[in-house]
Amino acid sequence: MKGLTTQNLSLAYDGTTIIQQLTVSIPTGQITALVGANGCGKSTLIKGLARLLKPSDGMVYLDGKSIVQQSTKSVAQQLGLLPQGPTAPEGLTVKDLVAQGRYPYQNWMQQWSDQDEKLVQQALEITNLVELSDRPLDTLSGGQRQRAWIAMALAQDTEILLLDEPTTFLDLAHQIEVLDLLHDLNQQGRTIVMVLHDLNHACRYADCLIVVKNGRIFAVGEPRSIMTEDLVQEVFNLECRIYPDPIANTPMCIPMGNKRTKN
């Protein structure tokens, strides 16, 4: 199993440091959710893990080796990425998009091997898109489109999958559909790291939470052991109650809000 770790990682945008001296190890074979308030740096962190941002200090290590010293193609064979809200070019079909996931395995002479074809077909099947594979992406619903992007990342055939808010802009049913799909992928042995906004989804689907506050790690651990009312107060500045989720028995956060007295 390939490990993903950071050592004193700092990430900056235009000279402003967002992530400061962060050291963390992503548990292999598990689902990890990055949670935190808006602007805390969780999306920046996932970009750093995916080598989209060069560290201003420290380093990301993939399989024990510095990620920037490996060829970007070889990294792409080990680590897949789905950025936040990707937009597809006009007229591109589902199949054409998913086939792009094979790019890191191709070269000038080998542009479409048996293996490429097999994995694209597999990715379409897993994401339940075989029927839609000839449709242009712009004619699909939001949930179907997100599945197509995930299928592209699947065709990339990597042990680690990084996703930045894979459920944003989806209705609740489609959010659960995507999370269930990611859970299945994890069961097949993939390491999954994702930024999630919904704490209850994070607690239910993730094996490990990384709670980020002001560019530093506030807490790391299993949802059941770290999710407390105090943590939500500290990190989100929100008063809440935590109850066990009646379905999964994972922590469930109920915000107090202003309408608490309405009965």
């Binding site: 970009k47 995916a50 080598r51 989209l52 060829s71 970007t72 193609k73 070889s74 990294v75 792409a76 064979q77 897949g80 990425l81 789905l82 950025p83 990707p86 937009t87 597809a88 070019p89 006009e90 007229g91 591109l92 079909t93 199949k95 054409d96 998009l97 086939a99 792009q100 996931g101 790019y103 890191p104 191709q106 000038w108 002479m109 080998q110 542009q111 479409w112 091997s113 048996d114 490429d116 074809e117 694209v120 077909q121 594979s133 000839d134 242009p136 990339q156």
Partner: protein, 345 residues
Amino acid sequence: MKDWLMVRSPGMSFRMDRRLPAIVLALAIASFAAILLNVGHGEYAIAVGDIIKTLFGIDTGNPDHVFVIQTLRLPRTLVAFMVGVALAISGTIFQGLTRNPLADPSIIGINAGASLVAVAVIVLFPSAPVYVLPIAAFTGALLIAILIYGLAWNGGSSPILLILLGIGLSAIAGAFTSLLITFGSINEVSQALVWLAGSVYGRTWEQFFSLLPWVILFVPLAFGLTRHLNILNLGDDIATGLGSQIEWQRGLLVIVAVALAGSSVATAGNIGFVGLIAPHLGRKFIGGNHASLLPVAALLGGFLVVAADFVGKTLVAPIELPCGVITAAIGAPFFLYLLIRNRKR
């Protein structure tokens, strides 16, 4: 996978859209027909049979045919075709790289930059040989491309910003071009004006052979880069995630697009909107995968400019309209339509 045609042998493998061979064949026939029609038409008409005979060196019994076809009309038509191919490929690359459906070398200012430096050479160094023009135009086009890259490309800037910037840069380059024309001597200026209009009028084998090396070098290079263009078309983050060396690949593609636009401007002036229309039509025929789109758009571009030249010659005959006027008459309304549709997104 039913819609892909696959070629596999040990050591190599490719795939293409199943519709590609038929569409390419149809467009090649249409282009060939347009070329014959255009060669046949002029101050006096020549029958198709006589054109084909003359092309193959068979005597038609009319000694004028050889001169009219081989010296006057054929180079002009072939230049029109090559210019169309080059502009269409350039536009397809720019649209793919910028993820902007409005990008076209004539709209984002590339052609204006090419014109400026080429006019400067015509006016200031009238004795410069013909093959210098494409190099000059390439330099001007590259300067504009670098300016655009620096000012508008960062952080996925909006499609409209790129267009506005292009219009601004075109205006500046156009102003300097006018300035040069005002100060130039009458002989050079009249030559520059004819050329600026965007026309293949009076193009000879000399221009044909100064454009040819650029087409031979950069068209195959463009085809070789379509795999990378497809990836860059998904956006920088996805492209990086898939292991593309984005700066390097993008730089190479920009140079190809600029070289094709610049050399065609050097040969036929500013024939606008071909790079806008051809990729859009091409996407309707074959979809958004650049490996298939690029050859289809290229043939459409070639056909379009030859057809525009033909229409320009016949519309108000005996007066000839430059083919750039015809492409603009079709392209400008199409551009406005895209602009309005794009605003609503």
